[in-house]
């Protein structure tokens, strides 16, 4: 056979990866596909679909990474995708990724697949840590007992993945002779499922996997829906059969428990028959480390120290490469100035493009450092511990412990943070987290803070930044509290926080994360921000002709033609500056700013600040680039220029606060709108942010002004007083609401054993 005909005979196959969260499914996907991937969306739902290409000698494989799930019974929109895709996947090839270091629980999903008649190719992942701990498995027996083909893999290093790809690329995947599958459904259940299917004129042997799944669900569901009398009878018969030979008869409400128990019994039998699982899966050093990191007294300080370290490195170390970037941008604009003909294009390049985008790219080092730490924390497994120790606090603002991860992500950028809220299964919880995320200071808002804090508080900018963060946090807590208080739902999403074993992060996964973040930021800077910068530039240079109050041109010409003295040079400089300012005030931008200005005036903003908030809606980063364009005629140094036009530290502080709160950028709003699927929610959120920003800024301004006039209290003390006042107010309101409601623990599950039962206040039901 010639080579070309071999190429032609390559088969096309769709491969689906299914497995538990944290089983290494995505690592396996990365190992198999490399960089050849495509990110899309599943039809009809806003769940990310990750597809990649892998080529074996005999086939072109399209690899689809399905969302991670513990079981086929969905608890989130993502997991629903797995169930909905399972029919299509059964026609292709399903690779079930099983973390063998966590064998029993991972085999639950495998059992469900086998029960539905699917024969997955099993990737026994994390095989290295399994054998290292002393585990052994007889692959031949595993294969015979389950009717599947197992492949030991180590996805993190790529070990064993080649064999897997070659196997799933074979023209005919030989399925193992199936004498008696140890994981398949027992006859009692099979009979009942057959009967349930018959109600829909279907048969088990010819039914699709999802049809079989829904038959099983009908049997175990708490409230059969729709209530068919025959189904109730089938369930009662099933319960009766299961009760045979037992002391306590099985109730129909306990069928779900029975099925799960049965599955685990089969799994235990299988493992006992073919493998020796190490007694203790968690090494002693990990337990020790865990005990320290989640320690009652040390846990929180360690976490706080880590966060402090992350922040310090991000902003202090990040300054060094920031300086390089700044000089690069300066050099570039100087180069364009020197080598291009004077005209509108050069002005656009220097004034719009270079100064706009350049001002953004300067902050890339910050983002890279921050996400380097986030990647390390996530990959090492510490993020779960952080969520664990922070859960109580998150819970107190009505959030799920898992919401901490999106919130932390919000520090980098609100857009992926909003996307990350998908890990929260309860819709209300998800919406609440989405509402709060824009109040988390994202990396793009840092330029504004760094710049203003450095300009107005040069002695100790970090203290002021910390104060801003703190006020921001208080607002966040307040909003979270009030919202969860107003819309309290009795059912919270189940809190299941898996503690993965500690792992050494691999350089490649950290690199992946950094590359993705930087690319995302540059992409954003390149499109949205550039568009913003250009629009702002257009608004700031048009109309070209502005009526002037004084004939600067002839006066300047006269001065220039006359004898050159020190006086005349000074006069020339002064006149040109005055002309520039007058020109600027006649442009569209200033007109727009002045139009909105009355609304912002109570906050003490000049029209320039007002104007800079407009492009800030496009992307917060644009606030600084707009300010630098607007202040260019006063001084090359933005800080000097702002001081020259009469901005006080107080106004700067209020402006920073307003910028932090007033509105999320358009990209964040876009994802909120898409993720929530509700225009009303998005619009409401918008109003809420603006109102909060306005009120908080106004209060700060007034209190600040009062404090400033009294000489006995200095600035920092004043702010401490404000924050304490806000905290006290929040506590009072909270207590007030609790008081009206009568009790705080009306949704407590262990009512009967609660010592505070019947009392108006509940101390949390602690034993």
């Amino acid at each position: 056979m010639s080579k070309s005909s071999l190429m032609k005979s390559k088969i096309q196959r769709n491969v689906y990866l299914v497995g538990n969260p944290n089983c290494g499914k995505t690592s396996l996907f990365n190992a198999i596909t490399g960089e050849r991937r495509r990110v899309g969306n599943w039809p009809g739902v806003t769940v990310q679909k990750l597809e990649g290409i892998a080529n074996s000698e005999t086939a072109n494989l399209t690899i689809c990474d399905l969302p991670g799930t513990y079981s086929l019974t969905p608890a989130t929109p993502e997991e629903e995708v797995v169930l909905k895709t399972i029919d299509a996947a059964a026609d292709g090839c399903i690779v079930n990724v099983v973390d063998i270091a966590n064998f029993e629980r991972n085999l639950f999903l495998t059992t469900q697949l086998i029960e539905l008649g699917i024969k997955p190719v099993v990737s026994l992942n994390c095989f290295d840590s399994f054998t290292k701990a002393g585990g052994t498995i007889d692959l031949q027996k595993f294969s015979t007992f389950t009717g599947t083909t197992p492949f030991p893999t180590v996805a993190r290093t790529g070990e064993g993945t080649h064999n897997l790809v070659e196997f799933i690329g074979r023209p005919d995947i030989i399925s193992v002779e199936d004498c008696e599958n140890w994981l398949s459904l027992p006859q009692v259940w099979l009979d009942a499922a057959e009967e349930a299917l018959r109600l829909k004129d279907l048969h088990w042997h010819s039914a699709r996997p999802t049809q079989r799944y829904s038959a099983l669900t009908d049997l175990i569901r708490l409230q059969p829906d729709p209530i068919v009398p025959e189904l109730i009878e089938i369930r009662q018969n099933l319960a009766k059969k299961l009760s045979e030979g037992r002391e306590i008869p099985v109730k129909t409400t306990n069928l779900a428990c029975e099925l799960a128990s049965d599955r685990y019994r089969r799994i235990e039998k299988l493992i006992a028959g073919c493998a020796i699982v190490p007694g203790k899966n968690i090494p002693a050093w990990q337990e020790k480390l865990d005990r320290m990191l989640t320690h009652r007294f040390l846990g929180l300080p360690i976490f706080a120290l880590m966060m402090a370290w992350v922040f310090w490195t991000t902003f202090s170390i990040g300054e060094i490469p920031m300086g390089w970037m700044e000089s690069l941008v300066d050099w570039l604009s100087g180069f364009v100035q020197a080598n291009m003909q004077e005209g509108l294009i050069r002005e656009l390049l220097v004034g719009g493009v270079i100064s706009g985008v350049g001002g953004i790219i300067v902050f890339i080092p910050n983002i890279l450092i921050l996400f380097f730490w986030i990647a390390l924390l996530e990959d090492s497994g510490y993020m779960s511990r952080a969520a664990f120790i922070m859960d109580r606090m998150m819970n107190s603002i009505g959030l799920h412990g898992r919401a901490f991860i999106p919130m932390i992500m919000g520090l980098g950028c609100n857009v992926p943070a909003v996307l990350a809220t998908r890990i929260i299964d309860n819709r209300f919880q998800r919406l609440l987290t989405m509402l709060l995320i824009p109040l988390v200071t994202c990396a793009a808002r840092l330029p504004v803070l760094v710049l203003l804090c450095g300009t107005f508080f040069p002695e100790n900018p970090s203290i002021w930044m910390f104060t801003l963060f703190f006020v921001n946090l208080l607002v966040l807590i307040f909003l979270g509290q009030t919202t969860s208080m107003l819309f309290k739902t009795s059912e919270n999403s189940p809190f299941l926080l898996e503690m993965p074993p500690y792992r050494l992060p691999t350089p490649s996964s950290v690199f992946h994360m950094l590359y993705e973040k930087a690319a995302h930021f540059i992409e954003k800077a390149g499109t949205v921000i550039l568009a913003g910068a250009v629009i702002i530039w257009v608004l700031s240079v048009f109309p070209r002709e502005v009526p002037l109050s004084f004939d600067y041109e002839s006066e300047l010409t006269r001065l220039r033609s006359s004898e050159i003295t020190v006086e005349s040079t000074e006069r020339i400089a002064e006149l040109s500056r005055k002309r520039e300012i007058e020109l600027m005030e006649g442009r569209y931008m200033a007109r727009l700013g002045k139009f909105i200005h009355p609304v912002m005036e109570p906050l003490g903003f000049s029209w320039r600040e007002t104007v800079s908030l407009i492009p800030g809606f496009l992307a917060k980063e644009s606030v600084v680039s707009t300010l630098s364009v607007l202040y260019l005629p006063y001084s090359d140094n933005l800080g000097d220029a702002m001081r020259k036009t009469g901005m006080t530290p107080l106004t700067a502080f209020v402006f920073m606060m307003f910028t932090l709160l007033y509105i999320p950028c358009i990209a964040t709003l876009g994802v909120i709108w898409r993720e929530s699927g509700s225009t009303r929610f998005t619009a409401l959120a918008l109003v809420v942010y603006f109102a909060i920003a306005y009120v908080v800024s106004y209060i700060t301004l007034k209190i600040g002004a009062v404090l400033q006039t009294s000489t006995s209290i200095d600035w920092f003390e004043g702010l401490v007083i404000i924050t304490v006042a806000i905290a006290a107010g929040w506590y009072l309101i909270r207590t007030f609401i609790v008081t009206i409601r009568g009790s705080r623990c009306n949704s407590c599950a262990s009512c009967s054993s609660c010592p505070s039962r019947g009392k108006s206040d509940c101390s949390g039901g602690q034993p």
């Binding site: 079981s71 120790i389 819970n395 262990s750």
Partner: protein, 83 residues
Amino acid sequence: MVRTTVTLSELPEGSTATIRDIDALSPTSQRLLDMGFVPGTPIRAVKRAPMGDPTTFEIRGYQVGLRRSESALIDVEIKPDEK
């Protein structure tokens, strides 16, 4: 032999017990069952979080954090010798 039945939320830190029953009426139960919280399974309370909630439990060789609201759904049995 004297056996004590408590809810999982009351299981003292560091002690081991066996799952007896799980509240079938809660919508959370299905997920707990799927994750291996079935009657007869040994379970250990590993660590309570610094602020008192949630608690990590070790079950079937892995660790998972549960809040009091979830762990209160599960009844466990402490044998005197396991205390």
